[in-house]
């Protein structure tokens, strides 16, 4: 029998606010344990939460970016459970009345476009971290670091519209790209600032009813998401085909073994006893809040890509690479503004620049070569001051030293020789040195033109303008 897979993703994104969701503590990653805490996020007696307005603004931006309807009134709720990384014994989240609902994004998967529904987006606070087995004295003791407690999160819940593991990855990548474009989340899955749970079920092809869903956790990379879903589809298919029933449960992905393992069944699931958070008033979002979020939103990846193709007449592939990161796209556009020739600039940015950024593990925002410096280099090439080959060398030097093209070219004497008299002398010398070849050329073996140009370039240490040299050779030997 053929089965159809049904996947829904719950994505948690840490918002890049300077302070936490309900107190003024910093949110910097990697600070010393328990150095970014205060009575409020420590859940000390009598303290109260106060909502971070910036977090709301960020959440609204995401809601608008994925076409959600923003609820004018949303309600914070307490999710109650005991765990040492949760100082209050409850997490402040949103439950029956979330910030935004009913959105969608269009994703591209294997060349075809698919629309994936977004059920809801809500705000909540992050929990702290437990460090196991790192205690200084006691064997088996666990340490609690509450720096992350109260860091703002948004949870983006998709409809069960995803059908394949690849589609799940495409969806998650699209969500990450939007978050990163909005500059509200750094999208780092290894550090946990972007996290993803997947609900996976299978059903006979053509069946309308949903199968029993399994919640998968602990997939902190795109690869692990794919591996976990692939494993889970196989596992569920095997179970159904051998006449077993899939039971509703939460399963943990083990990346080293590449398998999912049961964490808890439905019967063991927590009863979170949600109820409205009495310490916070309902969140009222006004038209002005929405307008403020909307007006400061950047162009999003899909729209930018389409515009690049149209405005710069560059191939879709180029546009896709250039718009994958907002700051890279900015770099490209600045360079084109300064130099023109969109395809030339695209070749340089996608080729040399991205190669060196990767090699040096640098972000575009840390690039030593600025759009101004790149444009200046390209002008030297265009004016015939240096050859294209030399330009690549110069670019590498610019990248490693941060210097500008002209000073490198001058210092190294790389300026191209375009003076006809000087080139004529060099051509004459080359002709004089190679009488045999001259004879063959004149006898019709005109392919030897390249040989003479090469001889001249060798003699001038590559500085001769190859175009001019070729013309001179042709003239002199005709």
């Amino acid at each position: 029998m053929k089965y159809e897979t049904v996947i829904g993703l719950e994505v948690h994104a840490q918002l890049l606010t300077d302070s936490k969701l309900f107190c003024g503590c910093r949110t910097r990653f990697g600070a010393g344990p328990n150095t970014q805490v205060c009575p409020v996020c420590l859940g000390m007696p009598g303290v109260l939460p106060v909502l971070n307005a910036k977090a709301m603004d960020y959440a609204l931006k995401m809601a608008l970016a994925v076409n959600c309807a923003v609820n004018k009134k949303s309600v914070f709720a307490r999710k109650n459970y005991f765990y040492p990384d949760l100082p209050k014994g409850y997490q402040i989240s949103q439950y029956s009345e979330p910030l935004a609902e009913k959105g969608f994004i269009d994703i591209e998967n294997l060349g075809s476009a698919r629309r994936i529904g977004i059920t809801r987006i809500h705000m909540e606070e992050d929990a702290g971290k437990l460090l196991h087995g790192e205690g200084p004295d006691e064997e088996g003791a666990s340490l609690v670091d509450l720096n992350r407690t109260g860091v703002p999160l948004i949870e983006i819940v998709s409809e069960p519209d995803i059908r394949t593991p690849d589609e799940a990855v495409s969806y998650l990548k699209a969500i990450r790209d939007i978050l990163v474009y909005l500059e509200i989340c750094d999208g780092n899955m290894q550090e946990g600032s972007l996290r993803c749970d997947a609900n996976v079920s299978i059903r006979p092809a053509g069946e309308k009813k949903l199968g029993t869903k399994i919640e998968l956790k602990n997939m902190n990379s795109f690869k692990f998401l794919k591996d976990a879903v692939v494993y889970e589809i196989d596992r569920q298919t095997e179970a159904v085909e051998s006449g077993e029933r899939v039971i509703q449960e939460t399963r943990l992905f083990d990346p080293s073994a590449g398998v999912t393992r049961s964490m808890r069944t439905k019967e063991e699931a927590h009863d979170y006893r949600y109820f409205p958070e009495p310490d916070l008033l309902p969140l009222i979002v006004g038209e002005d809040d929405i307008e403020k979020a909307r007006s400061s939103m950047p162009e999003l990846p899909a729209g930018k890509k389409a515009r690049f193709i149209k405005e710069y007449s560059i191939p879709a592939y180029d546009a896709g690479v250039l718009t994958a990161h907002r700051r890279l796209a900015d770099f490209y556009e600045s360079s084109v503004r300064l130099f023109g020739e969109p395809k030339t600039v695209s070749n340089w940015v996608m080729g040399e620049l991205l190669r060196l950024l990767n090699e040096h593990s640098k972000d575009i925002t840390d690039s030593p070569v600025t759009p101004e410096k790149l444009a200046a280099l390209l002008k030297l090439v265009k004016n015939g001051d240096i050859s294209g080959k030399a330009a690549k060398e110069v670019f590498e030097e610019m990248f490693t030293t941060g210097r500008d093209a002209a000073s490198i070219v001058n210092e190294k004497g790389m300026t191209q020789i375009s003076d006809e008299g000087e080139l004529a002398r060099a051509v004459d010398e080359a002709i004089g040195r190679n009488p045999d070849s001259v004879e063959k050329y004149r006898a019709g073996k005109t392919k030897l033109l390249g040989f003479f140009v090469g001889e001249v370039l060798k003699a001038t240490k590559g500085r001769a303008n190859p175009g001019l040299v070729a013309e001179l050779v042709k003239k002199k030997l005709s």
Binding site: G43, P45, G46, L48, L51, R78, P84, P87, R273
Partner: protein, 413 residues
């Protein structure tokens, strides 16, 4: 002004126990907003006052540390949960005190101890640093010898607070200013649901005397109805316990307060800590609240209670269309004897029957002395007002107090 504070308000560098073993050695690194405002206004914080553990109780017998006696008769309870606050003022141990009121915890002990207690409108006084029992009901307020002191203290305590999202952002009037303006033409509502069977004869007599006195001062009385009063106690014990079950989850032995670590594993530590740290009444309410929020019960209990709470609130909205203040007894009886109701939580809960609706509706209420029983125990009169209209309450209370003069009587200690 030497002021003592119910031990539910965090005081920076000074032990704040909530009368619980759980917090027996807890020293907060911050002041509650109320304490900070008092200090800023030049008050001298004399010390911290006994209470029912986590403000759960009506007699202060639920303190984990010791019992507080009623200064008028030391065989009687001072009421609760702010029993220490009321007794200290009645006994002259401090000029005034601060209490908290979730279902009557300022007004009932004020009534039992013959002093003035004011529970402001929900949100009028910041709850920051006031250890939470039931967040949507808790409100701090003054307990004083007379109405003038209550007005003056409210001037200091009231006002919006950026640290408390539920505090109301409205200007604070000078509550002491209009006290002497009299009650001529003031409409006083008398709710029939509060003059019921079970109301002590002597209490009823004293309250009726107060009504007559206010009429003689120029006020008018009008009969009003608060039809959902009979559900108030039920609603209260669902809403308050639900919130409490969540608010008290933080006392888990991990970060501060008591930790009992003789049991194996995390769960063992949680269980041992909470078993040893909490008293019987606190445990009872955590269990009740956990139950009413649980899957399958939420709709029938917590949700239904929240809906009925809206009806209780609506009762008051309707009544205040006909009157300016509502007058009732504070408690059906005068102070009861120590130990008298300890074994019967339900009877204990009913001693708050007249004070609970006020918290559910979020309106201001106060208690002031209106006489004594034949045994010499104080009787309290309750005034309830429109939201944010503490001024009218205080004016009516002041007018009555000045005519009656009960506030001048002190216990013979």
């Amino acid at each position: 002004m030497p002021i003592a504070i119910k031990d539910i308000f965090c005081t920076r560098g000074v032990k704040t126990t909530c009368s619980s073993r759980m917090l027996a050695n807890f020293v907060p690194p911050y002041d509650s907003t109320v304490v900070k405002r008092l200090k800023d206004a030049g008050a001298v914080i004399l010390g911290k006052l006994n209470m029912d553990e986590f403000a759960m109780g009506s007699s202060t017998e639920n303190s984990a540390f010791f019992k507080t006696l009623n200064p008028w008769d030391t065989s009687c309870v001072p009421g609760g949960s702010s029993g220490g606050s009321a007794a200290a003022v009645a006994a002259g141990l401090c000029a005034a005190s601060i209490g908290t009121d979730t279902g009557g915890s300022i007004r009932q002990p004020a009534s039992f101890c013959g002093v003035v207690g004011l529970k402001p409108t929900y949100g009028r006084v910041s709850r920051y640093g006031m250890i939470a029992f039931a967040s949507s009901l808790d409100q701090g307020g003054p307990i004083t010898k007379d109405v003038t002191d209550a007005a003056m203290l409210l001037n200091v305590m009231a006002g919006s607070d950026p640290l408390d999202s539920t505090s109301v952002d409205a200007p604070v009037p000078d509550y002491a200013r209009g006290l002497k303006d009299g009650v001529k033409g003031l409409k006083i509502g008398i709710p029939k649901e509060y003059f019921i069977e079970g109301l002590d004869r002597e209490v009823e007599g004293a309250v009726n005397g107060a009504i007559d006195a206010l009429k003689a001062s120029g006020a008018e009385t009008v009969g009003v109805s608060l039809p959902h009063t009979e559900y108030a106690v039920g609603v209260y014990y669902l809403v308050a316990t639900a919130e409490a079950s969540s608010n008290l989850a933080r006392y888990d032995g991990v970060k501060y307060g008591l930790r009992v670590d003789n049991a194996a594993g995390l769960l063992g530590m949680y269980r041992a800590t909470r078993d040893r740290g909490f008293g019987a009444e606190v445990k009872r309410r955590i269990m009740l609240g956990t139950y009413s929020l649980s899957a399958g019960y939420y709709d029938a209990y917590y949700k239904k209670a929240s809906e009925v709470r809206t009806l209780v609130k609506r009762d008051f909205d309707e009544a205040f269309k006909k009157c300016d203040v509502i007058l009732t007894p504070t408690s059906p009886t005068a102070a009861f004897r120590l130990g008298e109701k300890v074994a019967d939580p339900l009877t204990m809960y009913l001693s708050d029957i007249f004070t609970i609706s006020c918290n559910l509706a979020g309106i201001p209420g106060m208690s002031l002395p209106c006489g004594f029983t034949s045994k010499g125990l104080p009787i309290g009169l309750q005034l309830l007002g429109r939201p944010m209209d503490e001024a009218t309450l205080l004016r009516a209370a002041y007018t009555y107090e000045q005519g009656a003069g009960w506030h001048k009587k002190r216990p013979a200690l």
